[in-house]
Structures are given as structure tokens and as C-alpha cells.
């Protein structure tokens, strides 16, 4: 990125192929950052416009107008209104769908009135013949008073011309309004508005008033005057309505001269597919089938690469142990860092597969049909048809799921969705469930074909969803939030997903998971290792005391080693921590070692398995190859002489993990999205309490 790059902002309605165009312009040169002060991801990329000129392209969230109704859309308004030499766009590239040009031009006309140089890219022109559309480009350019380029982002057509148009537009720096709304609505009113600040266009000032959003470029005095205009809300509303009608009138006039559509050529594929996908029985059958397919692939297909990753990291660790000189640093690398990284990498297959499905469903246009099918059901629980997407994504990871709630415009429905999403069984719970099920549930068939272990796992998923929905219902009835619930979803045309778009989406989402959650998991693994291999003076004496204690007994060298190891662990910092909380967790059937795993799980659930691995292997014999599962299975509860991980303890632990809010990364995201610590704290304590009580009941009944 250099200073001479043209700053281009990409704006358009959803489903216009904006993402395809962004990918086409920037290729793999993209990165995701955050807008300063706000929480929405910003996608940027560098595009080579010509041999000497690059552009820094920012992809803004899809929107139908610059009057926002959701968090996503408000980004567009902020970017346009808050001018800043460093970041404000110099050229705006509006993407429009050739089939829906009329509606797309509404957004274009608003942006044009902000008096910023604008290029219009009419996308999907490869469909024109099929749809019976013809456009008179030269008249359209003249009427819109702007650069207009016909492109097909998917087929990579017209991109070169578009790049040239961006350069021309930047050089000319010509910017004039398209619709002079003031003359048509109330000239006096708008004249007064205009006089407040000569440095801003009339439309900018109008937006500040209607959207109650004032940039720094507005002085205190000017702001006071603008607020005066806001007082008469009914006039404001009336004028906004009039403005929209007037814009459509102007657009219709222009399109009449330049745009012809032969309606007889409209394909009925959409209506045929809609009849199937929104059918009252088949629609749901298909949706359930799809969900089963997604779950099947997450568990089945992902297990192959996951086993491979698991084995590879174990090998790397063993190899590093042999190669590195013995010492503290070597221990840190082989027992802290390598397993820590492995613990993150292992989730990639599952996360990637889930995002692959979601990306395909979004790209094809099917997701909108799911929203349509589910809205009524979800509304009963205080949510929205759009809440289905976060709840499904939650089975991979709550972090991207919570970010996906941004499209829900009602604050109450969005908040409820955010609060209950962590109940859905995320992939981090999976290794915990997997190992506990393997330990306490016998692998046998019931009714001759159902695998009991699989059935338990499925029930845990059911438990997660049921709790999420129930919690939503309780929140719906108790939260006293007054928000207007307004719902409108576009049902886009069905499309064959673009491989490039899907690939880049999966790549980006997976990458952000690895870095966001990975940082925390890795850092924790190191802290954990440190706490387990250090302690107060009793830790240093542990080895000597053990040797003295067993001096008269006849023990083998190996037994002695293990005695020392467990004595060391017991006296390490983490052992002390686990012992401190032991009285609290004893009624749930847990000992101090499980206690340690519970503490570390509060950073991220999957750390449970890793922690137990650390607990049982730190200081153990290097040649020891027993797997973690075998070690857990042979662990004895000294007070009963029975197995530590018996049925009651295993079930109690699974219930605990199903309910408890044990993910620091999710809490951080909830804080970011709700802008207060109130909601993440309510989640932490509410879910924690539920987990404690449920596990207590489970253990007491089963033991």
C-alpha cells in the first residue's frame, strides 16, 4: 500500500455480486481488519489498475440505502459521512445487478448526491440476453452524469474497462448531485439547512439530521443548528418518504430512455425452486436433511484430517524432544508450545467444512429461504428468522456466529441471539465429549443398528439446541427492551456458487478463527505448562520427600518416577489451585485434577483434554506411550477405590461442559458486540450457575 494508491470504496445492494467483484479486483491481496472504534470487520485489498497505478479497495457491507437499519449498514453511512484524509474514499464504486437496476440505482442516486466521484458497475451482464434486457450505455452515462461500465465479475469481463474508468473518474474528480431533492420537496426548508454549513453538501447535512450522526467536521454551533431541524420528527419522516419517491421517479425517467426488459423471457426456474424449498412439508424435510448432512460431514469427514493432525503433532513433539538438548526451553517447546499449536490446528478441518457449507448456502441464495421458513418459529422465542444462521454457525464456533448476528436489525432479537448462541454445541466441546463418551459409554449397538456412543453425542447436540431455544424464550419474556421489530429479507435469485468466492470465504473465516482463538489457546497452553512445572518450596522438595517416603518399600524405578511426578504436580502452583477449588466441585464428583482442567477450560473448552494430557504426562517417563484415554481410564479415585471417570462423573462433566460459558474469546466478542461488560458477565454467571446445578443433580442421581 502506498500513498499514491487511489482509495476506492465498493458499495452495493446485497446479492449484486459485490464480493465476486472485490475478489476479482484484489485476488488474494486481501486482508481483514477492524474499523477503528467500531466492531465490524473491514475487508481491504490492493488492486492493480494500470502499470503505474494501484487502488486500495475497501469492501463495504451490502446495503439497500444509506439510511441504515442494522449495524452492518451503518458502516456505510459512517464511511461516507466521516471524512478523513487517511481513510475516506476518493472514488466510490457502486455495484448494481443488471436485473434489478431500478432498485440498485436508488443507492447510487443517494451516493451521487454526496458529491463524491462515483463509478457505476452494472454486473451480471452475461445474463442480459437470457433475461431479455438491453441497455443504451451512452445515454445512461449522460443521464447519470457518471462513468458506467458493464461487467461480469464472475466471468472476468469488463474488469479492465472498469479499472480504466476508476482512473479516469479519479483524475476528473468530477462530482455533482443527481437528484436535487430540495427543489422537489420543500425548497425553503432545504435552503435553510444548506446555509448551516457551506463546507458540506446539502445531502450530507440532510443525512446528519435524519440519521443523528455528526462527523467531527461539524462545529458545535452548526451541530446545535442541525439538531433544531430534528425536532419535528413527523416532517422529517414525511420528507424522507417524499425523497425516496422522488428518487424513484427520476430513476424511472432515466431507465425509460435507456433500459428495456422483455418480461416474457423471465425464467421460471426461481418459482419452480421456490415451490420446492419453501413448501410446507418438503421445505422442512430438505432443511433437516441438509442439517444432517452438515453434521455428518463435520464428524465423519473431518475426523480423517483431524486424526492425521493429532498424530503429526505427537510425532513432532517426540522428535523435538530427541533433538533438543534437555532443559527448560526444550520442555517449554515440547510440552507447552507444540501441543498448544496442535490444539488449535486440529479444529481447522471442522471449521473449514462448516464454513464451506454456510458459504455455499449463502451463495446459492438458499439461506434466505431458510430465514423465510424459520422466522415464525424463531419469533415465538424472541428471535428472528435470521437467527438461524448464527445458531447453525455456532456448531463450529460461537465467535463467527455471534458476528453473524449483525444483520438482525432489531436490537432485542439480536441480543437474545447473541446470548443464547454459546449454548449450541461448538466444535471445541467435541473433543471433550468425545473422550468422555469413549470412557464412560459402552460401544454397543441398540436396536441392532444405533450406535449408543453416537446417540449420546447426538443427544448432547439436542441438549445444546433445546437449551438455547429455552433460554431465548425466558429472555424474550423477561427482557424489557423496547425495540421495533422490523423484518424484510430479500429472496435473491438462485445461483450456482462461485468456487473462488466460496474458497476465499472459507479461507478468511478459518484464518480469523485460527488467529483470534488460537492466540488465547496457545498463550494458555504456555501459562499452564509453567504453572504445572513450577511451585513453592514444597514443589522443590517433592522429589526428595517421595524418595524418603518410599525408601523402605520395594518399588521399581518406574513406579518411583511416577510417584515423584504426581507428587510434583500436586505441589505445583496449578495443583495448589486445583486443591483450593476441590471442596466446591466435590459435590459434582470431581477431584482436584479435574478441577485444574475446569479452571483452564475457562479460557477455552478444548483445553480440557490438553490439560489432562499435561497433568498426566508432565514429568512422566519419556518412553511412556500410553495415550491420554488409557491414562484417564486407569485413574483411580483413592477414596472409593473405583475408577475416577465412572459413569456418574463422566455424565456430570458432559452436562457441565454443555452449559458452562467456558470461552474467553466468546466473552470478548460479546463484549465487543454489545459494547458493555454487562451481557458477557450475565452469560458467564448465568450459564455457570446452570452448569453447576445441572451437574450436581446429574451426579447425585447417577452415583
Amino acid at each position: 500500500m502506498s500513498k499514491n494508491d487511489i482509495k476506492v470504496a465498493l458499495i452495493g445492494n446485497p446479492n449484486t455480486g459485490k464480493t465476486s467483484l472485490f475478489n476479482q479486483l484484489t485476488g488474494l491481496n486481501q486482508k481483514v481488519g477492524n474499523y477503528p472504534g467500531i466492531t465490524v470487520d473491514k475487508k481491504q485489498g490492493v488492486s492493480k489498475l494500470s502499470a503505474t497505478q494501484n487502488a486500495l479497495v475497501t469492501d463495504l457491507p451490502g446495503t439497500y440505502s444509506i439510511n441504515p437499519t442494522s449495524l452492518d449498514e451503518s458502516i456505510v453511512l459512517k464511511t461516507l459521512l466521516h471524512k478523513d484524509v487517511e481513510t475516506s474514499p476518493e472514488v466510490i464504486l457502486v455495484v448494481a445487478d443488471v436485473e434489478n437496476l431500478k432498485r440498485n440505482l436508488l443507492l447510487f442516486s443517494q451516493i451521487k448526491d454526496l458529491e463524491i466521484p462515483t463509478v457505476l458497475a452494472i454486473n451480471m451482464v452475461d445474463q442480459m440476453v437470457k433475461k431479455g434486457i438491453s441497455i443504451d450505455l451512452s445515454i445512461l452515462k449522460e443521464e447519470l452524469n457518471t462513468e458506467v461500465v458493464l461487467i461480469s465479475a464472475r466471468k472476468n469481463e469488463g474488469i479492465k474497462e472498469l479499472k480504466e474508468a476508476i482512473i479516469r473518474c479519479h483524475v476528473a474528480a468530477k462530482a455533482s448531485p443527481l437528484c436535487n431533492i430540495d427543489n422537489k420537496i420543500d425548497p425553503n426548508y432545504f435552503q435553510k439547512l444548506k446555509e448551516i454549513s457551506p463546507n458540506h453538501s446539502m445531502y450530507e447535512l440532510w443525512l446528519m439530521v435524519t440519521q443523528n450522526n455528526f462527523p467531527d467536521s461539524i462545529s458545535k454551533e452548526e451541530k446545535t443548528k442541525l439538531i433544531e431541524f430534528k425536532k419535528d420528527i413527523s416532517t422529517l419522516k414525511k420528507y424522507q418518504h417524499k425523497e425516496t419517491i422522488y428518487r424513484y421517479q427520476e430513476i424511472n425517467k432515466i431507465l425509460k430512455k435507456t433500459y428495456i426488459i422483455d418480461k416474457t423471457k423471465a425464467s421460471d426456474l426461481r418459482s419452480k425452486l421456490d415451490k420446492i424449498f419453501t413448501h410446507k412439508i418438503f421445505g422442512y424435510v430438505f432443511f433437516v436433511f441438509l442439517l444432517l448432512l452438515i453434521f455428518q460431514s463435520i464428524f465423519d469427514w473431518a475426523s480423517v484430517p483431524m486424526d492425521f493432525i493429532d498424530a503429526t503433532f505427537a510425532d513432532i513433539s517426540t522428535y523435538a524432544k530427541k533433538q533438543l538438548p534437555a532443559g527448560l526451553l526444550s520442555d517449554l517447546i515440547t510440552e507447552g508450545i507444540i501441543p498448544g499449536i496442535g490444539g488449535v490446528i486440529i479444529f481447522i478441518p471442522q471449521i473449514a467444512i462448516l464454513f464451506l457449507f454456510i458459504a455455499i448456502l449463502e451463495e446459492t441464495g438458499y439461506m434466505s429461504r431458510v430465514v423465510f421458513l424459520m422466522d415464525k418459529i424463531m419469533r415465538r422465542f424472541g428471535m428472528n428468522g435470521k437467527s438461524v444462521i448464527p445458531l447453525i454457525s455456532g456448531t463450529a464456533c460461537a465467535i463467527p456466529a455471534i458476528m453473524a448476528t449483525r444483520t438482525i436489525s432489531s436490537w432485542k432479537e439480536r441480543l437474545i441471539t447473541i446470548l443464547v448462541t454459546p449454548f449450541t454445541t461448538c466444535s471445541a466441546r467435541l473433543p471433550v465429549y468425545a473422550i468422555l463418551i469413549a470412557l464412560v459409554i459402552p460401544s454397543k449397538k441398540i436396536f441392532g443398528f444405533l450406535n449408543l456412543q453416537g446417540l449420546v453425542l447426538l443427544s448432547l447436540y439436542g441438549l445444546g439446541f433445546a437449551t438455547a431455544v429455552l433460554a431465548a424464550y425466558i429472555l424474550h419474556k423477561t427482557l424489557k427492551l423496547k425495540t421495533k421489530s422490523f423484518f424484510v429479507v430479500e429472496m435473491p435469485n438462485y445461483k450456482i456458487p462461485s468456487v473462488k468466492n466460496v474458497f476465499l470465504e472459507v479461507l478468511e473465516k478459518t484464518k480469523s478463527f485460527v488467529f483470534e482463538a488460537g492466540k488465547i489457546i496457545l498463550a494458555l497452553s504456555i501459562v499452564l505448562w509453567f504453572l504445572a512445572s513450577n511451585g513453592p518450596s514444597s514443589f522443590d522438595n517433592a522429589a526428595r520427600n517421595t524418595i524418603e517416603n518410599v525408601a523402605n518399600q520395594n518399588v521399581s524405578k518406574q513406579e518411583l518416577q511416577q510417584e515423584i511426578a504426581s507428587a510434583k504436580l500436586e505441589n505445583s502452583y496449578i495443583g495448589i489451585l486445583g486443591k483450593t477449588i476441590e471442596p466446591i466441585i466435590k459435590p459434582l464428583g470431581y477431584d482436584w485434577k479435574i478441577g485444574i482442567a475446569l479452571i483452564t477450560s475457562f479460557a477455552a473448552r478444548e483445553v480440557f483434554v490438553g490439560t489432562l494430557a499435561t497433568i498426566y504426562s508432565v514429568g512422566a517417563d519419556d518412553e511412556d506411550t500410553t495415550t491420554i484415554k488409557q491414562k484417564m481410564a486407569s485413574e483411580i479415585n483413592p477414596s472409593t477405590g473405583q475408577k475416577r471417570f465412572n459413569f456418574a462423573v463422566g455424565m456430570s462433566l458432559m452436562v457441565f461442559y454443555a452449559f458452562a460459558m467456558q470461552c474467553m474469546a466468546t466473552l470478548a466478542i460479546v463484549k465487543r458486540e454489545t459494547k458493555t461488560w454487562k451481557w458477557p458477565l450475565i452469560q458467564l454467571f448465568g450459564m455457570g450457575l446452570l452448569a453447576y446445578i445441572s451437574s450436581f443433580i446429574t451426579y447425585q442421581i447417577l452415583s
Binding site: T244, D375, I377, G385, V488
Partner: protein, 76 residues
Amino acid sequence: MSTIASLHIGEVGYISEEALDFIPLKLLEMGCLPGAEIELVQIAPLKDPIYICVNGSHLAIRKETAAQIKILKSDI
């Protein structure tokens, strides 16, 4: 008087001029304009939301919104 909510699947109406104040701005911006032809494409299995086509936009809206927008039916 009929509203969008009273249309049957496949039926076409015209949004009444007096409906303007009852159309949410967002819907207006998406092409749901007074005078426009509107078709009810589909009703969700649980009778709500409904799926309409207006000015080339295919939209799903809730019944409560639809019931506020008056239309004129083409009585043919």
C-alpha cells in the same frame, strides 16, 4: 379495504396511494412504492412471513407489516 396480507398466492394488486405513510422507509427504498404492482408469491408454511414481488424485488415481509399496507385489487 384490502391489504397486502389479504392477497392470495399468485394474486396481483396495486399499492394504494394513501398507503404511503404506512410503508416503512426501508420497504419503500426496496421498491415497495405507492402505485406499484405487487404479487404475492408464497406464504410461509406457518402462514407468516409472506413472500412478495414488487418492482422487480422479491421480498419476504412479516404479516403485521403487510396488513398495514393498503392495496387495490385488480378485479378481473
